[in-house]
Symmetry: C2
Subunit: 260 residues, 2 copies
DNA sequence: TAGTGGTCTAGACCACTCC
DNA sequence: GAGTGGTCTAGACCACTAA
């Protein structure tokens, strides 16, 4: 133990080559811990690739793989010909994930467990101006309109309204309908036939209708998660909004050295 | 051109070795495009490593690097001994970033440009129960209390209240004060002396005080961005909240194949 | 010119899966 | 056992930076 400590101080900490944790991951962890502990401060230059090769007794490719991971995570920034430097915190780069709030902590907002989804309405309607614009179709075209309510332990927590392109000639329509259903959107079998989606979260207050459905006072705060999904031809095929009760959902994020 | 098309159909598309875009990046781009175009659908297995080596005429390490990037992005999922498979959309994994909404589109919420930050109040106070708990200090300990208002083009858009540990014996206190100031938090010189931060975004409605300061009606929706920053010893050193006008900020994200 | 990071090779060995 | 992905080596060459 003492020997290890001395080696660490000398910058010669060895990797555990018998560990299940690969060498590159150990290097990422060790360097991240040293950054987190203040050994390397924001703006400091990390040892060069060849120095790290010597310190950890690995090849340059292994060091490079570790460096790539740390650059991807935003922990460090690499500059060709100059070196690798420790980055500081940057609030503007913080990424958030929607999480369910409950007494036991936070959990993924779209996990399948303990959720019940009720279909309130399914109809085929002519697209109004707004829907036609969002789905890039002619006004008056027929669209599928769906309203759903997500319950947790009997409480309504998310109110979902969605418009889908309706084109019975396209076989993809069935896939789209399947995807945006419970089975797809909430159970992890997502995305069959869909290519990508753009999401926006806004802060809103509940309208009378939304408040009644979510069993909250009108004027209560909520998240509005608007989504547009596109097919493989880059056409918008689904547009809708989740209204999420603010007392049940939050967005969480973290910035800085991740030592998990 | 026709030759290239035939090669692509035969799965022998060559890389542009003279391009500035490295081989691994070209491979990621080509495979992502093929996924986005529907050639590979969610659940499909990608060609094996050796097949991709032959197709692109590169070594296995280059293929592996490309695969690692696509796994990191969530485009595919790799399973040892089985293969690499295309993933579908997963709303639960969507990550959002706080962005400023204006007529010109969206921009980073904490960028420095065109912002003015006014210090409304700076005081040293005894910590009440709530602050003491958040900063993990004894109730009644002295803390620094700061109130700031962020303006864009003369309009107040963010109201910031923050509590900082006050310990003049610790040299880090100066650094902490510096970090959480304008110069630090808003100008990119962030994080000197700070290790990491936990962030939470909630939907709220403006209180009377907040509404007056932000020049909005009381009851208007807003984001509340709560932050706790920790030092290198993992002690909380700053706790505060940004109240962000909902008409000025949103959170944006994307899921699915990124072909940017 | 010396040092840095960036990319890449042509293998090797291992663990795992499925037949 | 054959095929898969996961890791790693010991170099090589290149582009960039700074003295």
């Amino acid at each position: 133990m003492n020997t290890v400590r001395v080696e660490e101080l000398e910058g010669k900490s060895r990797l555990d080559r018998d560990s299940y944790e690969p060498a590159y991951a150990q290097i990422v962890r060790i360097l991240s811990e040293e950054i987190a502990s203040g050994r390397y401060r924001p703006g400091d230059q990390l040892p060069s690739e060849s120095q790290l090769c010597a310190r950890f007794d690995v090849s340059s490719m292994t060091i490079r793989r570790a460096m790539n991971i740390m650059v991807d995570r935003g922990t460090v920034i690499a500059s060709q010909g100059k070196g690798v430097f420790v980055r500081g915190l940057d609030m503007g780069e913080a990424a958030f994930k929607l999480r369910e709030r409950n007494d036991a902590g936070v959990r993924a907002a779209f996990a399948a467990a303990q959720r019940e989804v009720r279909l309130l309405q399914a109809a085929i309607l002519p697209a109004d101006d707004r829907v036609a614009r969002k789905l890039d179709i002619a006004q008056g075209s027929r669209v599928v309109y769906l309203r759903r309510l997500v319950h947790i332990a009997g409480d309504p927590v998310m109110y979902h309204r969605e418009y889908l392109r309706y084109d019975p000639r396209q076989p993809s329509v069935e896939a789209e309908l399947q995807i945006t259903s419970l089975e797809g959107l909430f159970r992890g079998q997502d995305g069959q036939g869909l290519r990508r989606g753009d999401l926006t979260v806004e802060a809103v207050v509940l309208t009378e209708e939304e408040a009644e459905i979510l069993q909250c006072p009108a004027g209560s705060p909520a998240f509005c998660l608007e989504h547009i999904f596109y097919d493989f031809e880059n056409r918008p095929v689904a547009w809708g909004r989740f209204i999420c009760r603010a007392d049940r959902y939050s967005l969480v994020g973290r910035i800085g050295a991740d030592i998990s």
